[in-house]
């Protein structure tokens, strides 16, 4: 019975980790290559989720919603980059933080104006609504398995894109040494827009996966943004491989902590005290992980800058 619990936690951790990777991939590229802190990154995830929910409601098909919403999020990201964000590249980090925080607030208000303050419904497609018997006696949600599949597929595509294509080569060059890449003739401004649109589309995918599991609501991007920053700091800023491993690490540790801390604490103290202490300790585990990694590797697991 216990092995099933462990297996289920492994699946849950993998699912959470892969979603974090989708969010962290764009963030780490933008931060690494453009040296730009974008606090509005979580808003792209929110906008993507809302678009998916709206298109799903209009067409009656989750798949159309997913396709349209991911595309919409990518376009939204590109427009944001072309119109506002590119003016921040030359500014210091404080201006970027202030500017993108303003965009985050405007996105929240914009969504509230259009869709209202209440969460909008987004349900899993019917074919993925039930459980699947993974092993005898172990049932797992088919939509969660679908999320894991999509996450792995996207990670694979990213790997191919970064290591096997011209665009990927330019991205790696930009992350390692931006001035040198520009001197070698990389069209940096077009590259930046492309990266931003790609990162935004990945946020849209995450919105479509997590929206039905959690809730599509105003401010959904904030909580996840902080965790995404933790992931890229652990992985090494600018590194896709680092983002992938960091995301899986954070996902598994966070999930395991939330499950096993209460079990551990309830052995040590009264249920009342355990109910208060265990979640508190579980929620700081990922920050302890970050501190530990930075202590031994101050630039993260896979630093990109030479």
């Amino acid at each position: 019975m216990n092995s099933i619990l462990l297996l289920e936690q492994a699946f849950n951790g993998l699912q959470f980790g892969l979603m974090l990777f989708l969010l962290a991939a764009g963030l780490t590229l933008v931060f690494g290559i453009m040296d730009m802190i974008n606090l509005a990154h979580g808003s792209l995830y929110m906008v993507g989720a809302y678009l998916i929910a709206a298109i799903t409601a209009a067409t009656g098909s989750y798949w159309w919603g997913l396709a349209g919403g991911v595309l919409g999020a990518g376009v939204f990201g590109a427009v944001l980059e072309l119109s506002i964000l590119r003016h921040f590249y030359q500014r210091d980090h404080l201006s970027q933080v202030l500017g993108t925080f303003a965009i985050l607030l405007m996105c929240n208000e914009g969504v509230r104006l259009i869709w209202g303050a209440q969460p909008v419904p987004l349900n899993t497609p019917d074919m993925l609504a039930g459980p699947v018997e993974v092993l005898p006696g172990f049932f797992y949600s088919s939509f969660s398995l679908f999320i894991i599949g999509v996450g792995l597929l996207v990670a694979l595509l990213m790997y191919v894109l970064i290591t096997r294509t011209r665009l990927g080569m330019q991205v790696r060059a930009g992350a390692a040494n931006r001035e040198m890449a520009m001197a070698m003739g990389v069209n940096v401004s077009a590259l930046f827009t492309a990266i931003f649109a790609l990162g935004a589309a990945l946020c849209g995918v995450a919105g479509g996966m997590l929206g039905p599991v959690l809730a599509v609501q105003v401010g959904m991007g904030e909580s996840i943004l902080i965790v995404a920053f933790v992931v890229i700091v652990i992985g090494g800023i600018g590194s896709i491989r680092g983002a992938f491993l960091g995301a899986l690490l954070v996902g598994v540790i966070d999930t395991a902590g939330r499950t096993f801390m209460p079990l551990l604490f309830s052995r040590l103290m009264s249920p009342e005290a355990a109910a208060n202490a265990a979640p508190a300790v579980a929620s700081i585990l990922i920050y302890l992980l970050m501190a530990t990694v930075l202590f031994f590797k101050p630039r993260g697991l896979f630093p990109t800058h030479g």
Binding site: A117, P119, P121, N123, F139, S141, A215
Partner: protein, 373 residues
């Protein structure tokens, strides 16, 4: 009678954003419907309802309540959904001698030693629905029940209330954070707990997500799901749909209750908003009716606090629940019913009333209340 043109001001502070927004919206809609049906009047005087959002945050709730009683000088306060917000907003409200008429939150703190002359619950005491549910689960012969409730005052009241009437074994107890939406951890612990029934008190979006994930994980085949009315009401049904069929839940109200006041309320609510009312809407409606009666019976002299209090305590209004009276601690003494989610004659998935579980039920804290005269 020159005073009659003065409007009666009500501060309706409720949760209108985030996962609990559906609850606040229904309280607001129910309250405003009652005011509208009274000709936009309360006790014969023009009504002014100031609506504000507490964002389910105790801090925001306290600040906004403070503003409503000091700046807007409201005569009555109502609307709060969550007990943690209620306990935070209560202090400034009572300090300014403003009557608070609860349309939902009924924390045990205000029912016992800390009972307050300015607090009236037109809804229930937090433990009550769970007490009725505990009785139902006990009567149906379940032996091992897993309990899940959020880690906040009403969550603790819920489990206390359930265990007061359920005498069997508790397989496990989980206290997720309020407004947690992913229940992977709780579900993975349910599986090995070998429970034969699961009792959830998860209001608003929490319950919607839990039930969806519970069904998706395939647990609904081995465990019977029970909840208070909050976890099986129209807001949850609308979001989850067919998987809810057959779920038992307990409440002091049901939309198919057979009394004239309720028939009128349900029909008017459907006409106005195009959906079936939830118990939150019924509580909002009754809160407005109670204020209406109090203004009327105190002859509109709202500055005479003793007269208003007496009028409130008398509660001379036709509650949609039928019989309704206040206990010494200003909490209701009322019946609690069992409801089951089925398809009605129109093919809609909705609740059907099964019958009373607890008759003329008072809360467990009233004896500790020494209500100041």
């Amino acid at each position: 009678m020159a005073q009659t043109a003065e409007p009666v001001k009500v501060g309706l502070l409720s949760t209108l954003s985030g996962p609990g927004a559906g609850l606040g919206v229904d309280i607001r809609d129910g309250f405003q419907l009652a005011v509208k049906l009274a000709g936009n009047k309360l006790g014969g005087r023009p009504a002014e309802v100031i609506v504000a959002d507490d964002q389910a945050s105790p801090d925001v709730g306290r600040q906004t309540a403070d503003r409503l009683v000091k700046r807007d000088k409201v005569d009555f306060m109502t609307g709060i959904v969550f007990s943690n917000v209620m306990l935070a907003a209560g202090a400034p409200t009572f300090a300014s001698q403003t009557f608070y008429i609860s349309a939902n939150a009924g924390p045990s703190q205000y029912a016992g030693e800390q009972c307050n002359p300015y607090f009236f619950s037109a809804s229930y005491q937090n433990d009550n629905m769970h007490e009725a549910a505990g009785q139902v689960v006990q009567d149906k012969g379940f032996k091992r029940v897993a309990l899940i409730a959020p880690n906040y005052p009403a969550g603790k009241d819920a489990l206390t209330g359930f265990k007061r009437f359920y005498k069997g074994e508790v397989a496990s107890e989980s206290l997720p954070a309020l407004n947690q939406l992913n229940f992977g951890t709780e579900l993975s612990q349910l599986r090995p707990s070998k429970a034969d029934a699961v009792y959830i008190f998860l209001p608003g979006g929490m319950g919607i997500n839990f039930i969806k994930q519970f069904v998706a994980a395939g647990l609904s085949k081995d465990m019977t799901l029970f909840g208070p009315g909050f976890s099986g009401d129209e807001d949850v049904i609308k979001a989850v749909g067919e998987p809810m069929l057959g779920m038992f839940n307990t409440s002091q109200w049901a939309h198919d209750m057979d009394n004239a006041a309720n028939k009128k309320f349900v029909a008017e609510f459907e006409k106005e908003y195009g959906r079936l009312p939830t118990l939150y809407a019924a509580q909002g409606y009754d809160a407005a009716q109670l204020i209406n009666a109090a203004v009327r019976d105190s002859k509109g002299k709202l500055e005479d606090k003793a007269a208003v209090r007496k009028a409130l305590e008398a509660a001379k209004f036709d509650s949609v629940r039928g019989a309704f009276k206040f206990n010494n601690n200003h909490f209701p003494v009322q019946d609690y019913y069992l409801r089951v989610i089925t398809k009605d004659s129109k093919g809609r998935v909705t609740n059907r009333m099964m019958g009373a579980v607890l008759k003329k039920h008072a809360d467990a804290y009233a004896s500790q209340c020494k209500m100041p005269g």
